[in-house]
Assembly symmetry: D2
Homo-oligomer: 468 residues x 4
């Protein structure tokens, strides 16, 4: 649906000692990360046995399957590579912001991909500009790339340059850097953004989510530690944990919505977290009902959890038309007040004369859930009780999650009772803040968008709409 919180990026990197066709694996990896960004995709590869500075880049707007043809991939020879999928806000959806960013510089070539958002990107950009640097794009990532190239000019190795570079960065980031001979990865010191390590027989993989490892035939090894710098070269994997500390703040929204259901992040299963969320909602907001269901796809697992705990049958109550992708739907058609109708339809036989518990992951503007409730009632549902597997959004995110402007956030303007009335639900329950920790086995979370407690310093002004 349209009113969803959106994640920004997925990254994927590979270093292989034997193969020159890693572009193929990156492609599969990016297909598995496509849910993290559908606006642009890109791959860069180089060959560690070739001349320094060999580099092949292809990136463009569109889905992974649209940007790359089989022929494109087979032409991209190299044993080191990085890839990226990107989500962008409308205003910046130009091809120039697609990733990877690659460059030629004093020490050869660099490629970089980035998931996250810097709190101090504008400061860094200004600092570089004051030194005479210029930028072709508006992305944070190009800032990091140029800073890194500069640092590398004054460092003995790419890993040293990375270490210096990240000392400037504030915010959430998962970075992959490809140099002519090495693949380097860094995760922000709080672990706001996810990054994990996989292994194949002949190589190493780094990816935003563990689901992408399977796609490339790799075995999950472990998460990158917050603050850790990983270097992969012909010497194998080396880890620098000098920047690691105990402080952690994993983005809660990865578990609620962003990550893929079959991924595991920081030792917590996304599926378990959502299922557990549903269970906790059942404890907190029980209701007498005939069935539990969820909004496809994001509400289904929490619904199963709710059903499990409440002892009410979990039932599929919507049909989702998977052919409605980017299909245009004329919005002015009277009979069809929104695209929701074309995408989701209620299974009347499932809900007729039934008291329904309906799970969804979040409420942003509230238009979609209101529409679905009305459709359910028209289909004969007697009651519709809404349960939301996240607390109400109340605060902006400075780390890369694209929360709509406050004025569009229902929860900032209305009480829960007012929202319930507006969306037409018979009851409404939001996940309690205190329950969130339990869904993830009490790993330390960043829940700033719900509680306003930011794990880093943040600018005084609300963040402008960003992209990278």
């Amino acid at each position: 649906m349209d009113d969803k919180i959106r994640e920004e990026c997925g990254v994927f990197g590979i270093w292989d000692s034997t193969r020159e066709d890693v572009a193929q694996d990156i492609y599969y990896g990016l297909l598995s990360l496509q849910h993290r960004g559908q606006e642009a995709a890109g791959i860069a590869v180089c060959s560690s046995t070739g001349p320094r500075g060999n580099l092949i880049l292809r990136k463009d707007q569109g889905l992974v399957s649209e940007v790359f043809s089989e022929k494109d991939l087979s032409g991209m020879k190299g044993n080191i590579g990085i890839g990226h999928v990107r989500y962008s806000t409308a205003g910046d959806s130009t091809a120039v912001n697609a990733q990877p960013f690659t460059c030629y510089y004093q020490k050869g070539t660099l490629g970089i991909v980035h998931n996250g958002n810097l709190v101090n990107a504008e400061d860094l950009r200004s600092m570089l500009m004051n030194h005479g640097y210029s930028f072709q794009a508006t992305s944070d990532t190009e800032v990091i790339q140029q800073l890194l190239a500069r640092m590398r000019s004054e460092s003995r190795s790419i890993e040293e340059a990375v270490k210096r570079t990240v000392s400037y960065l504030e915010g959430g980031y998962a970075l992959l850097i490809m140099s002519p001979r090495k693949l380097v990865a860094v995760r922000d010191p709080l672990g706001l953004k996810p990054l994990c390590i996989g292994k194949t027989k002949t190589g190493w993989i780094l990816a935003s989510e563990s689901c992408a490892l399977n796609a490339a035939g790799a075995e999950f090894i472990r998460d990158v530690r917050p603050g850790e710098i990983i270097k992969i070269s012909k010497k194998g994997l080396e880890s620098d944990v000098s920047r690691c500390s105990e402080a952690r703040a994993h983005c809660v929204f990865e578990y609620i919505y962003f990550a893929r259901l079959d991924s595991r992040m920081d030792e917590v299963s996304v599926y378990r977290a959502r299922f557990r969320g549903g269970q906790l909602l059942a404890d907190a907001f029980p209701v007498e009902a005939d069935l539990v269901t969820g909004v496809p796809e994001s509400g289904l697992t929490a619904a199963a959890g709710y059903a499990d705990r409440a002892g009410i049958p979990y039932v599929q109550a919507f049909y989702k038309n998977s052919y409605i992708g980017r299909t245009f739907i004329k919005p002015t058609q009277k009979e069809r007040e929104s695209a929701v109708h074309m995408k989701l339809s209620v299974l009347e036989d499932a809900v007729r004369d039934k008291r329904v518990v309906l799970l969804d992951d979040s409420i942003v503007r509230g238009t979609t859930i209101a529409h679905l409730i009305r459709m359910m009632k028209e289909a004969g549902a007697k009651e519709v009780h809404v349960r939301i597997s996240s607390p109400p959004f109340l605060h902006p995110c400075y780390y890369g999650t694209d929360v709509p402007e406050s004025s569009q956030l229902l929860a900032q303007r209305m009480s829960t009772e007012q929202i319930r009335e507006q969306i037409g639900a018979d009851s409404l329950g939001y996940m309690r803040l205190e329950d969130l920790d339990e869904t993830v086995d009490h790993i330390p979370l960043c829940k700033a968008c719900f509680d306003g407690i930011y794990p880093t310093e943040v600018p005084e002004e609300k963040p402008a709409e960003k992209e990278n």
Copy 2:
């Protein structure tokens, strides 16, 4: 997955007294019928107030959203129209077989769309050829179109011509015919192929499935009666039931697999039929287990039914990557024995150490289910008990369902026990023939693909691979 039984077509027609933009509604209708055919799509419209013979046709290979742009649609002015989505076997996937078929003839213009397969198509084609007729395509539909044009030359009205034409046709068909002033619909006398009637404020709609009525903002009126001829003109809807009899044989596979979950056909809810199928499987093949799940999407509803009857929790055990559409997947990659891996992944936390009941709608070659079972076991499932919501395929279909050649049908070569062993299941249960009737409230079914009892005369030879 690849080894699925495939349906051939969906049809949609509209007659409206006031609007010239019915192409828009046909587009929405076809989007809702896209599951019935993804190879080609087409729309033809004409204006009942324009000169006789005005007609605009657009058809091509591809999905509905690929064949039609917003500009295409807005250029197709007319208040009568027909549309079609088509599945075709590889050998005949040329654009010339896309529907609608339209023609200029003695009485003006005709357009025709067709879902189904004629048992005697080759006889009719030969008969016409012997009269000197020639065909641009290899489709049954062109045969019907030419026969109809010929009949119309000797008839007083299009409805009379339709009546004469259909008296030649043997097999299953749902036909929509657009003449300069009228929309005519016919359903085969046994009701093998579905067709239903909807109504908007200013017009009438005919569609393969009721789900397409909602998409066009229409209200469901009733199914077309087997053998009935419907004429819609400025006089409204007129029905000719002279060819209707009591004999009926609705295609069982519509309920098992083809039709959309939210459709209702011949007074039976598709959702109910599948849910009930799961329940009956639970009765027939009970097993001690920890959870019930289904292969997305086709096995989910039966799984819910099984769970409901068996009192075992229904759980989502697979993640489906919805971005893997027509994406190419290099089949030779060693680590990735099939595309199944990219499309479906097992949710480990859901199945680990669990005894699983896995529902699917059918087994054709058996490769996909075997792969899924292996994935489940690798994810830690202790047992995987497979339940199939249809009986084994044993006989060819002459009415349009593309059952693979006998040699590829597992059930023709092996016993159920042998199949169980081959796919690696801990137990295997097929829907019992006698239970099928109960899933559809005992409406009369054609179950020839399972029991070999054909409701019409059929050729002595096995049907060649056909398309229409």
Copy 3:
């Protein structure tokens, strides 16, 4: 430019005893005939050693290079083939009218391509319609195809069927027919439309113009005789001249404009005819001038002829931008009153202070020539004397040449002196009717568009805009 008389089609056929890749040669042949039609292109091939009825067709709107990729061609295996390039009027520029037309019928398959226009197409269409036939397209060619299929059903051979079929046809036509084993060609009895024969080491070629033979590496043998039926099979080339007579009427416009400069038709060199036309204009309309030039490309050869006879230097006075193909040019831009400016520019240094003789092949609406004269004067030309290498258009063509409606023909509304004044020329001379014959060595011509003398019966009404 826009106001040109347009030709309709080019045809190309090949029969080869040894090769299965004749599609490649057809492609080259069609590239050489592209000047005869830029709206659509198509190729059909079959294999004379394959099963009866094998046939591969590909056709679409666009240039030859747009319709066919290298991969398309390599997939079209066959040793017999036909191809077509087509021009169409706006109203009928739908893909359904693209050629070849192919069909499946009683005796196997047929393919047909056609250049020309039937005077009695509507009569034939009605006749067939009255027998119950219907048509998918609005093209004359489909009429011929269906008539031929019908005739073949009652004949012993394709050549007999062709003979019967053409006995119904009135007008101008060059037809190529591909049957499973043979390639048959017919030319209308007056030779209105061109067709010639070429030979390679292992096969035969038939083409609208001799220039297409070179492209396929073939040697020119001779023109097809008016009325002749050529059959090419494994027995070689056989000729049936029973329908040939002495009466001939070759379309004069092939020599003036349609045909390619390096072609030879009915033993007259196109280049010679145009050069000679310029010479005769010099005799008829001499003028004192400093240089002779022509409108590219159509006026250049006549200009050279004029210069040669008049003893005035022939000079290139325009630059033509060959990148302005189908590029859009916003017509409303004030400073740029027409697309002429972008396509042609005057070479100021060539014409400044000069008295210019400007040759063009025809005047239709007069807008382009007026614009060019104004450009020349702005560039400093003292005088511009226009010489047109055809007489004024006064009559419609019934044989396939798309002369604009009378109301748009300058010559029907105005005297030569009025036209001269309107276009801003200092003098104006049209080719004299009596001189036309001399340009083509007195072979018998159809000059009906100039003199109104039609070589066949024609309908009483003016022909509607046609296409084929």
Copy 4:
């Protein structure tokens, strides 16, 4: 043909006080400059009344008409803009090198387009790299852009920054720079690369060639002086001639081949120069012959000049198929030894039994001219005397002209007599070095590719294949 010397770029800039649709004019301008580069095209615009830093860029590989749709252009609002067409060598034909290069930097935004080649590009690149700068592309232009951004950071105005920047540049260049409020242009001090000024009612235009001014409805004002810096702002056009000197060296190849026939550069008409070149060849290498002709298009004007001086008729002897653009031609086809056959054919009636003088602009590898001579002889020409309107290539170009490697230059390996024999000509005459000056009215030329006298310092090594 393939063996041509290739030019690298065309630039176009506009500043208008009243309009926001200058992208339209840039489009027309680039269409007129398309002959200077067919590999990539780009446009950038900004609005001088908008916020600093507004900027819209679109660039891609392909022809101007392929890169820009009407919709693209109408979405590019701005009253200042620059555009570029680019030729590139195969190895670097990636989209990242397409121009304009734009950037965000300390003072807002910059856009830059560039025709030419820097002799010291690698030095500058290294210098910037040593300061920590990195480059996304391999183009000289990005080097200039980054240098300029850096200079601007330390300057009071863009024009001051441009002045400092160009003090670093050695070689040939014509630069257009777009700042948020101004359009700045610079030409190299020797005038190696062309650039001229035009004026419309409300604005100013700068373009590589005067032909592009007409396309945008502008009047030619004058050439930019070598070394001059032009600034256009709301104050109008301002000129800084402080870097101008008397030394000049205009690229001779602009007159011989690169520039459009209707352009005027540095007060010399391209048409006149080529016509005069033909005349001088007639003086230097007279021959008894029946006709003079040229290889289309590049040899036609010299042919006319030769004919004029020699008193021998100038005749068109080739037909050029304008539909063979980027059409693939299978090179392995036996009968068709090269693509020349498809593109050019000899007009037999023009050359049969004739002694022909054949003019072309240059000989690189010699394969094309050899082929054309053979075709002429096969068409019956008795003698073919070749006259080349440039001296033999003997030296590499360091300023941007893509002369093939020495090993492929016929003239470096063979005497004129040997070349004559190899290409099969009856006589061969190259333009004499001393005559070149006369063709351009003795303006100072760079003729280094012929005489090895370079007007600047050049590297000791031969230049690698470059692009920009």
